[in-house]
Amino acid sequence: VGGRDPQVIRAREERAVRARGMTVVYAVMLSIALLLAIQFLLLMVAVEGFVAGRAALLVPSALGSGVCFLAACRLVGYLSAPRTRGS
């Protein structure tokens, strides 16, 4: 429907671009949520290690948590960066 009307074609293209953009936004949000879940698991491991006196667990879990945080920052930066339409 709409044939070769340039306005209809442009509107379809804009919708497609917006849909792609939203997919990227949801993918980023899901990735950050997964990273957060991993961080909470690491935090639980660290708390249990701390109360049980297993100090060897603390530094690796903090490093893992730091890596997750950096990845989350990178994803937020990617989402916040200004980009040209359609890219």
């Binding site: 949000m29 957060l36 049980a52 997750c68 945080f69 920052c73």
Partner: protein, 164 residues
């Protein structure tokens, strides 16, 4: 009279607009939560290092008050090497005492002495330790209890060292 009240002209932000959160803002708040989780992990590392440093300090012998009044098969708590480090003294026989750190090596719950089985029991996750040497008999604890070395000085009982 103007249809819009004066306060609305001064603060033209509507309730709905004020509470509207964009996906980007929400994502940024997720990153803040991630930062907080990382901070909490870092704080635990710092606390662990502080705790290790405190343990490494030289411990002074300390007299255990009231040990002589303890009945055979009885137990009492005392603090060693420092305030807040709770240990459990057990009188196994008239002339035989043993003492261990009271924190279970699983998740830090206080252990209790069970005279009928001669075992130390952690009620949180059903961990059992041998009262003779503090070794794990059953349950989830991964290591023996830290043992306190005791010394008799006349009629007094002194804690002289803790072996972790």
């Amino acid at each position: 009279m103007s249809p819009t009240p004066a306060w609305k002209e001064d603060f033209p932000v509507s309730w709905v607009d004020d509470h509207f959160v964009t996906r980007r803002e929400f994502t940024k708040s997720l990153a803040l939560v991630s930062c907080a989780a990382f901070g909490a992990n870092g704080a635990l590392v710092a606390l662990g290092a502080w705790e290790r440093g405190r343990r490494a300090e030289k411990t002074e012998p300390r007299k255990i008050e009231g040990a002589g009044r303890l009945p055979v098969g009885g137990s009492m708590v005392f603090e060693y090497p420092g305030p807040g480090d709770v240990c459990l003294l057990v009188r196994l026989e008239p002339d035989r005492f043993v003492a261990f750190g009271q924190k279970c090596t699983h998740l830090g719950c206080p252990v209790l002495y069970r005279a009928e089985t001669r075992r130390l029991h952690c009620p949180c996750h059903e961990g059992y330790f041998d009262a003779e040497d503090g070794k794990v008999v059953s349950g989830p604890p991964p290591r023996p209890l830290p043992r306190v070395n005791l010394e008799r000085r006349g009629d007094e009982l002194w804690a002289v060292a803790i072996l972790r």
